[in-house]
C-alpha cells in the first residue's frame, strides 16, 4: 500500500519535474530541474530496492553531471547573460514526436505480458559486485578506457586556444565599439552648450600620423570611429 502510494507520488513528481526541465525558459532553472528529476529517480531506485544504484545515481548524476552542466552554462555565458532564453521553436514537431513515441511505447507495453510482482528477492549489492567484476569485467575495463578517452578528448576540445580569428575578432570588435562610443559621447558633449565654449581651432587637432598607436598599441579614436 505504502509502496503504491509512494510510487504514484514519485511518478507524478518525476513527470512533472521532467516537464519543467524541458519547458523552463531559463537554462539554469532547467539544469537545476534536471537535478531534482534525477534525485527523484534515485528515490525510485531506492523504492525498487536498488540502493547502490540510487547512491551512485545521486553521487554521479546529481553531484557530477548536474554540477558540470551548471558549470558549462556559466562558462559559456557572460556574466550578465546567464539568463538563457531557450526557445520552443518547433512546438508542434516536439509534441508530435514526443506524443507519438509515448503512444507507441505505451501500446506495446500494454500489449506485452509482464510480471506484476518480483519473481524473487532483490539482488544484493554483493551479487551486483560479483556480476560486475565477474562475467562483465571486460565491459567494465572497456568502460574505464572509454571514460579516459572521453576525459582526454574533452580536455583537448575545450583547451584548444588557437582558434585565432573569431576570438580576436570579438575582442577587436568590442574594443572598436567601445572607442566609438566614447568618441560619440565626446562629440555630443562638445556640441552641447557647455559653460565653456567648445573646442576651437586654436588647438591643433591631432594629425593623422600623430594618432597612430605607438607604444601601448591602443586603437586611436579616429580609426575606431570611422
Amino acid at each position: 500500500m505504502i509502496t503504491t502510494i509512494g510510487f504514484g507520488l514519485l511518478a507524478a513528481l518525476l513527470v512533472g519535474s521532467a516537464l519543467y526541465v524541458v519547458r523552463a525558459t531559463n537554462l539554469v532553472h532547467s539544469v537545476l530541474g534536471l537535478g531534482v528529476t534525477l534525485s527523484i529517480t534515485a528515490l525510485l531506485y531506492a523504492l525498487l530496492e536498488a540502493n547502490f544504484v540510487a547512491g551512485v545515481q545521486v553521487l554521479l548524476y546529481v553531484g557530477g553531471v548536474v554540477t558540470l552542466m551548471i558549470f558549462g552554462v556559466m562558462v559559456t555565458r557572460r556574466h550578465d547573460g546567464i539568463v538563457v532564453r531557450s526557445d520552443s521553436a518547433n512546438e508542434v514537431r516536439g509534441l508530435l514526436g514526443g506524443g507519438g513515441i509515448f503512444v507507441l511505447l505505451a501500446l506495446s507495453i500494454l500489449e506485452s505480458d509482464l510480471p506484476s510482482s518480483p519473481v524473487g528477492p532483490a539482488p544484493s549489492t554483493a551479487s551486483l559486485a560479483s556480476e560486475l567484476l565477474g562475467p562483465h569485467v571486460v565491459a567494465f575495463e572497456a568502460l574505464s578506457m572509454l571514460l579516459l578517452a572521453a576525459i582526454v578528448g574533452a580536455i583537448v576540445i575545450a583547451r584548444r586556444r588557437d582558434f585565432g580569428e573569431p576570438r580576436q575578432d570579438l575582442v577587436t570588435r568590442a574594443r572598436a565599439a567601445r572607442e566609438a562610443l566614447r568618441v560619440e559621447a565626446l562629440r555630443a558633449e562638445a556640441e552641447a552648450p557647455s559653460p565653456e565654449p567648445a573646442a576651437s581651432d586654436a588647438a591643433e587637432p591631432p594629425r593623422a600620423d600623430e594618432a597612430l598607436p605607438s607604444t601601448d598599441g591602443s586603437v586611436p579614436a579616429q580609426e575606431a570611429s570611422s
Binding site: G35, F52, G63, I70, H79
Partner: protein, 330 residues
C-alpha cells in the same frame, strides 16, 4: 514501523545534538581564534561568553529578511535550507554507539558522499539566485573546488570500504573494533587515506585553507554576500554542522568511531569515544584554520589533481592488495 519511529526519534536527537554542538563550536572557535591572536574573545554574554552564538542567533532572528529584487526568490530561499539539510542528512548514518544510529544503511558511505555532493549545488544556487557578482564568483569557485575534491574524497573513503568489505558505516566501525583503527593498522593505505580524506573533507566544507568560495578579502562574503537574518544564520550554522558531521564521519571511517577499550561492555563509553574523536578532529580543523592562510585557486586545484588524486588511487590499490595478501582481514 518501529524502525521508522526509531529512526525518527534518533534523527531528531542527532539533528538537535549536531545543531547545538555546532553552536557551541562557534563559541569555541571564537575563543580559540582569540587565543591564537592574543585576544580574549567573547566575555560578556554568559560564563566565558558561552552564550555568544545564541545572542547572535537571537539578533539574526530579529533582522529584516532581504531578498535581492532582481534575484530568484525561490532558489534564494531554498539554498540555505538545502545546504543545512544536506549537512544534517549525512549525520543520519553516523554510528554514535553500536545502537545509536538513525539509519543503518548498507550503503552508508555512498549516502554520505552522495549527500555531500549536493551541498555544492546548494552553494551554487545561493550564488546564482543572489544575482550578485561576488556571490556568483563564489559559486563558480565552489563548483570547481567541489568537483575536484570529490574525487580524492571518494577514493580515500574507498580504503576503509575495501579493507572492511562493507559500505555500512557501522559495519566499518565494527570491523575496526575487531581489528585496529584503519588510520593505524594497515598503516600504509590507512594513515595517508585518513589525511587525504581529512583534507578533502575540509575542502568540501569550504574551510580555510580551502575557503576560496568565500574568500573575504576577494569576494566580500562569497556566496553569502546577499544573505541576511536567519538565512545567513542557516548558512553560518550549516557550515559548522557540515564540518562537524564530516569530522564524525572521518572518525567513524578511520579512527574507529565508538570502538575503544571497554566499549563493547559499556555502550555509553562508545558514545564518549565517538564524541571525543569527533571534537578532536573539529579542533584540528579549527587549529589549521587559524594557523594557515588561504590557497590560491590554481594551487588548490593543483594540489588536488597532481597530488591527492594519484596518491589516493594508489592507496585504493594498496588496500586491495592488502585484502588479497594478508590473511584474516575479512
Amino acid at each position: 514501523m518501529s524502525a521508522l519511529l526509531r529512526g525518527f526519534v534518533y534523527g531528531l536527537l542527532v539533528v538537535n545534538a549536531v545543531l547545538l554542538t555546532s553552536a557551541v563550536n562557534i563559541w569555541f572557535e571564537r575563543k580559540f581564534s582569540a587565543r591564537m591572536q592574543s585576544r580574549v574573545g567573547p566575555t560578556r554574554v554568559g560564563p566565558l561568553g558561552l552564550l555568544q552564538p545564541f545572542a547572535d542567533v537571537a539578533k539574526l532572528m530579529s533582522k529584516e529578511d532581504t531578498v535581492p529584487a532582481s534575484g530568484n526568490r525561490v532558489l534564494f530561499t531554498a539554498a540555505p535550507l538545502l545546504a543545512t539539510v544536506c549537512a544534517l542528512a549525512a549525520a543520519a548514518v553516523v554510528p554514535f554507539t553500536p545502537d545509536v544510529v538513525a539509519a543503518d544503511l548498507d550503503v552508508g558511505v555512498l549516502w554520505v558522499l552522495a549527500v555531500g555532493s549536493i551541498t555544492t549545488i546548494a552553494i551554487f544556487m545561493a550564488g546564482w539566485a543572489s544575482n550578485n557578482k561576488f556571490a556568483l564568483l563564489g559559486g563558480m569557485r565552489s563548483i570547481a573546488q567541489a568537483v575536484s575534491y570529490e574525487v580524492p574524497l571518494v577514493l580515500s573513503a574507498m580504503v576503509p570500504v575495501v579493507l572492511s568489505g562493507t559500505m555500512s558505516l557501522s559495519g566499518i566501525v565494527t570491523w575496526q573494533s575487531e581489528h585496529l583503527w584503519i588510520a593505524a593498522w594497515p598503516l600504509i593505505p590507512g594513515l595517508p587515506a585518513f589525511v587525504i580524506f581529512f583534507l578533502a573533507m575540509t575542502a568540501e566544507a569550504n574551510r580555510i585553507p580551502f575557503d576560496i568560495p568565500e574568500a573575504e578579502s576577494e569576494l566580500v562574503a562569497g556566496v553569502t554576500t546577499e544573505y541576511s537574518g536567519m538565512k545567513f544564520a542557516l548558512f553560518y550554522v550549516g557550515e559548522y554542522a557540515h564540518t562537524l558531521v564530516g569530522s564524525a564521519i572521518a572518525s567513524a571511517l578511520f579512527l574507529g568511531g565508538w570502538s575503544g577499550p571497554m566499549a563493547a561492555t559499556m555502550p555509553w563509553l562508545g558514545l564518549v569515544y565517538m564524541v571525543v574523536k569527533t571534537l578532536f578532529l573539529f579542533f584540528m580543523i579549527t587549529w589549521v584554520r587559524w594557523s594557515l592562510v588561504r590557497f590560491r585557486s590554481d594551487q588548490l586545484l593543483a594540489i588536488c589533481w597532481k597530488w591527492l588524486v594519484p596518491i589516493s588511487v594508489g592507496l585504493v590499490l594498496v588496500a586491495a592488495l592488502w585484502v588479497e595478501l594478508v590473511p584474516g582481514v575479512h
